[in-house]
């Protein structure tokens, strides 16, 4: 059995390690989230009629862009909740990547294609680890 002082030191180190463990850095995840949503909006607007617009121009104007300020807003919302944020972002980013691939494989704007891609995305995002009920509206407000 180790001496008490030694055990105390070990515990102290362990506690120190645990308490000082930095929360995950979400910068890369948030950047990817920004890129993915903007890519998705751009890809969706390649077939503007599917979204109810007559032209790419109209569609682009309507769907907008996730700006750097929006990303800062997301970072502020997730400040202190990095672990939950990372879980959600990892999953959502993956879902959006598939969504973009799905949209891009429709160069001729076939009827129903967009709806299929969108419903897949909705299902995948719904299956992601969700943010808490108080964070979720604030998170979504940043990108709406």
């Amino acid at each position: 059995m180790p001496p008490l002082s030694s055990r105390g030191l070990s515990l102290g180190l362990l506690c120190a390690l645990l308490s000082c463990q930095a929360p995950p850095d979400l910068t890369a995840d948030l950047n990817e989230y920004q890129t993915a949503i903007n890519d998705a909006n751009g890809a969706a607007c390649d077939c503007p009629m599917d979204l109810g617009y007559d032209s790419i121009v109209e569609c682009d104007e309507a769907v907008g862009t996730v700006t750097n300020d929006d990303v800062q807003c997301l970072a502020d919302v997730l400040d202190g909740n990095e672990d939950a944020g990372k879980d959600y972002l990892d999953c959502a980013n993956s879902a959006y990547r598939f969504y973009v691939q799905c949209l891009q494989s429709n160069p001729n704007c076939q009827d129903g294609w967009y709806d299929d891609c969108a419903s897949d995305l909705t299902a995948q995002v719904a299956g992601c680890p969700q943010l808490s009920s108080d964070l979720r509206p604030m998170f979504m407000a940043c990108v709406e």
Partner: protein, 660 residues
């Protein structure tokens, strides 16, 4: 009018059938002629320019001209065999085009032998191929091309001189931070041709043979922003400075352990060529080093002088002064701006427009000339007019520039430091345009740059108005005029010849639901009911559905002999329903022809003048002739410097001549 790849014509001299296009395929691959590799090994300029030795401006100009000849020959082949070319007045298309392949190359001798651009121009205009090109583009293509070639050559010689003086990397105006933007000028040009071929294929077979014209010719992407325009702009931090582009770059570890940046150009089918200008917009770069000698031979003073009022002195050498501190630094003005005497430079203050930094897009000279010439051919009545979707181009550039302004304002608020704001201000200069002597110029390292377009870091907000952007000043008016032209010429017989899939009118196989698309449908319907339909050459109607409809209403195979094409009255541009007073045809969109290197050229010109004054003060300097005139003073500086002076002046003169 389409040409077959194996098209022939009867040569009047030999009375034999000759081929229009050269045999073989090697000539269809572009390879830059810029020599050497040692200078710009890590720059976007092609493995380029051994200017460190005795290579001078003429050699560079000849190489750049040769590049232009090559890109012109390839692009005319691609367009002529895929989309079609306009009729040529006074000569058959095939015969006229053949000159581009037989005599255009000989113009290189003229470039090599020139002493004065003003003497070179008439000589070039004697060339038949040049005359044909002027007809095809309906613009003064030769003067504008010569001006661009000379501008880049003068700049390159200055770079070479800096290299000779072992000052490469700090005293010259070329991208000092570039790591990886997809490759070189050669790569870009060949990529343009790849996209040409991929976006201009089709399967329509004419009644008289096996030509497959471009049934889906959509060359819009050449004129869209290079990076994804729906992504916000982002900074990239470099060892020596700052860069910005749209979208997040990928950072990777370079072979020497240094960070390398891979830019995200999507599928590399967009090139960022800004319509209405002569350059593309790529990565923007600014160096942390703020004040450098324009020319290595110019000394810079070491310390700040008297500082009164609110400004704090820096007490730093100009070499160590990096602008990060908001202080006042006295430098020899020539070192930061090519004017005489001492001047004040502030950390991040307006003079930081002299910070080394570039729009990397300027450094693709052949790509820029190729896309510029192509746009000249598009922006005129003819088969290419409907190959680009102007509405989309306008929208994409609007978004790109708006995103930049949003980015600049946001980053400005985020960073209070004068150095940071100075860099943002510097980057923003590349996005502006201004007018000098009734001529639009792009912002950047330009002596004529108005201070009002350089946001002062002392201000709390980024203050350059969006109305000063290149978009507002040049791109938007260009798009407006081109869109008006597209709409106008739908009311001509030529509407029958537009291939299905033409980018301005079709999307994903269907006619676009916009004003242009609706007008197209109406015009074609009206043509079917008009007696003018009998003027249509059925062999040239590449849309099989419309051809069938024309046949149904009695149109027969061409009433016009092939050999008569090009004769007066045998063209497609007659308006369908001439009013008593016919509508006035819209003018061609206005283009700012200033070379992106013109600012650098002016700097060289002024620096040379300043240097001359220094040499005058030293009686031991030998002079060949008394410096009584500008040309004589040029001689006093030696042949190369003389050429630079003369050429810099020549470029200004040429640019004025290119206004259409």
């Amino acid at each position: 009018m389409l040409l077959r790849p194996d098209e022939t014509f009867i040569d009047k001299a030999t009375k034999r059938a000759e081929r229009v296009f050269p045999r073989g395929i090697d000539w269809q691959t572009f390879s830059s002629q810029l020599p050497g590799k040692e200078v710009f090994a890590n720059s976007v300029l092609d493995p380029a320019i051994g200017i460190g030795g005795d290579l001078a401006m003429k050699t560079f100009a000849a190489a750049d001209w040769q590049n232009w000849v090559s890109t012109t020959q390839i692009s005319l082949f691609e367009l002529g065999t895929r989309v079609g070319m306009p009729q040529l007045e006074g000569t058959g298309l095939a015969e006229g085009m053949s000159h581009v392949y037989t005599t255009l190359g000989s113009t290189i001798n003229t470039i090599k032998n020139f002493e004065d651009p003003a003497e070179m121009l008439p000589e070039l205009l004697k060339n038949t191929a040049i005359q044909i090109l002027q007809m095809v583009c309906q613009s003064n293509i030769v003067t504008q091309t010569v001006a661009q070639v000379l501008a880049v050559a003068v700049w390159a010689v200055d770079v070479g001189r800096a290299q000779v003086e072992a000052n490469l990397g700090k005293n010259i105006s070329f991208p000092p931070l570039q790591t990886e933007d997809p490759a070189t000028d050669t790569w870009q040009v060949n990529r343009v041709f790849e996209v040409f071929r991929s976006k201009g294929t089709g399967g329509v077979v004419y009644p008289d043979g096996g030509i497959e014209p471009a049934s889906n010719a959509d060359y819009t992407s050449f004129y869209l922003p290079a990076y994804k325009h729906h992504q916000p702009w982002q900074f990239q931090h470099r060892a020596q400075g700052l860069a910005a582009q749209q979208g997040h770059p990928k950072e990777s570890r370079g072979p020497k352990g240094d960070a390398q940046y891979q830019f995200d150009p999507g599928d590399a089918s967009t090139f960022g060529f800004m319509p209405g200008t002569t350059t593309s917009l790529r990565v923007l770069q600014a160096s942390y080093r703020f004040y450098q000698a324009v020319r290595a031979t110019v000394g810079v003073d070491r310390y700040s002088l008297i500082c009164r009022g609110e400004d704090k002195p820096c007490y730093k050498t100009t070499k160590t002064f990096d602008g990060k501190r908001d202080c006042r630094q006295c430098v020899r003005a020539e070192s930061v701006w090519p004017v005489e005497g001492l001047g004040w430079a502030y950390g991040g203050a307006p003079l930081n427009a002299t910070t080394p930094g570039e729009n990397v897009g300027s450094f693709y000279p052949s790509t820029n000339k190729l896309l510029s010439n192509l746009l000249d051919m598009v922006a005129r009545p003819g088969p290419l007019l409907y190959t680009i979707d102007v509405e989309l181009i306008h929208s994409a550039w609007k978004k790109s520039f708006e995103q930049f302004w949003e980015f600049a304002a946001s980053e400005w608020r985020r960073h209070n430091g004068a150095g940071w704001r100075g860099l943002i201000s510097r980057l923003a200069t590349f996005m502006t345009a201004f007018e000098v002597d009734d001529e639009l110029r792009l912002g950047g390292r330009e002596p004529a740059m108005p201070v009002s377009l350089i946001s002062s870091p002392r201000e709390a907000d980024f203050k350059v108005a969006f109305s000063n952007s290149i978009f507002s000043q040049i791109i938007a008016p260009f798009c407006r005029d081109l869109a008006a032209m597209q709409l106008h010429y739908l009311d001509a017989v030529e509407v029958a010849y537009i291939p299905p899939g033409a980018g301005a009118l079709y999307y994903a196989g269907s006619i676009r639901k916009n004003k242009l698309g609706d007008h197209f449908t109406t015009a074609r319907r009206e043509l079917l009911g008009s007696t003018k339909r009998m003027l249509i050459d059925l062999r040239q109607v590449s849309d099989p559905d419309y051809r069938a409809e024309l046949e149904r209403v009695g149109v027969k195979a061409s009433p016009v002999k092939q050999s008569l094409h090009g004769s007066p009255g045998v063209g497609g541009q007659q308006l369908l329903a001439p009013d008593i007073k016919p509508r006035r045809a819209p003018g061609r969109p206005k283009v700012s022809r200033a070379s992106p290197f013109e600012g650098a050229v002016e700097l060289v010109q002024r620096a040379a003048a300043a240097q001359l004054k220094v040499s005058r003060a030293k009686p031991k300097v030998a002079r060949a002739t008394p410096p009584s005139k500008k040309t004589n003073t040029g001689l006093a500086l030696g042949v190369a410097a003389g050429s630079v002076l003369l050429t810099a002046a020549g470029i200004m003169h040429l640019r004025r001549m290119t206004d259409d």
